[in-house]
């Protein structure tokens, strides 16, 4: 059965801390792994990863994929209260269908 597992499920940190969110997957016909940030309703796109070992960065956020070990991490440095959200990991499976399977999400709370 295809599945995506995120850890931890929730995390509380203080401003300035660095956090690492984990995503492991077991899917057939892997195509890509995506990270989203969900604050209220719509998940907003962060990264799409298709190749192992290539880090993607956007400001204080970065992510990398390991296709051999079937996992990805999302790092957030110098966290701010505005980073508080649910971070979702999703994997596109069954190549070229566009279908995504989501993990449970990690709820991050950044305290002042």
């Amino acid at each position: 059965e295809d599945k995506v597992v995120q850890s931890p499920l929730s995390l509380v940190v203080h401003e300035g801390d660095t956090v690492t969110l984990n995503c492991s997957y077991e899917v057939t016909n892997f195509r890509s792994l995506l990270w989203y940030k969900q604050e209220k309703k719509a998940p907003t796109f962060l990264f799409m990863l298709t190749s192992s070992g290539i880090e993607k960065k956007s400001g204080r956020l970065s992510s990398i994929l390991d296709k051999k070990e079937l996992f990805s991490i999302l790092n957030i440095t110098a966290t701010q209260t505005g980073d508080s959200a649910v971070y979702l990991c999703a994997v596109e499976f069954s190549s070229n269908t566009g279908k995504l399977i989501f993990g449970q999400g990690t709820t991050l709370q950044v305290k002042p």
């Binding site: 309703k41 719509a42 796109f45 596109e92 269908t97 566009g98 995504l100 989501f102 449970q104």
Partner: protein, 115 residues
Amino acid sequence: SAVISQKPSRDICQRGTSLTIQCQVDSQVTMMFWYRQQPGQSLTLIATANQGSEATYESGFVIDKFPISRPNLTFSTLTVSNMSPEDSSIYLCSATGGASEETQYFGPGTRLLVL
């Protein structure tokens, strides 16, 4: 990136009634999808909305309960039929496959409460 809008943004409905949710993309896209996010849960794919043909439903979802239309490359509707309180969820539309885009973008969602 594609900009996706949904209507209505939220609704409160009585059990036994039906609600149609509209999804509009600001550019032509190859694929459109409908997801459900139940309270406290992650997103679950309901179906792929196919342009000009019947939608492709995931296990556990059926056309009679969630009829979907996609008359063109920028618009789709999802109907939640014969609603019960268990249908209370956020329903999200997504799209991918626009001009040089493989990333999947999401609409703002429709928050549905069934009494």
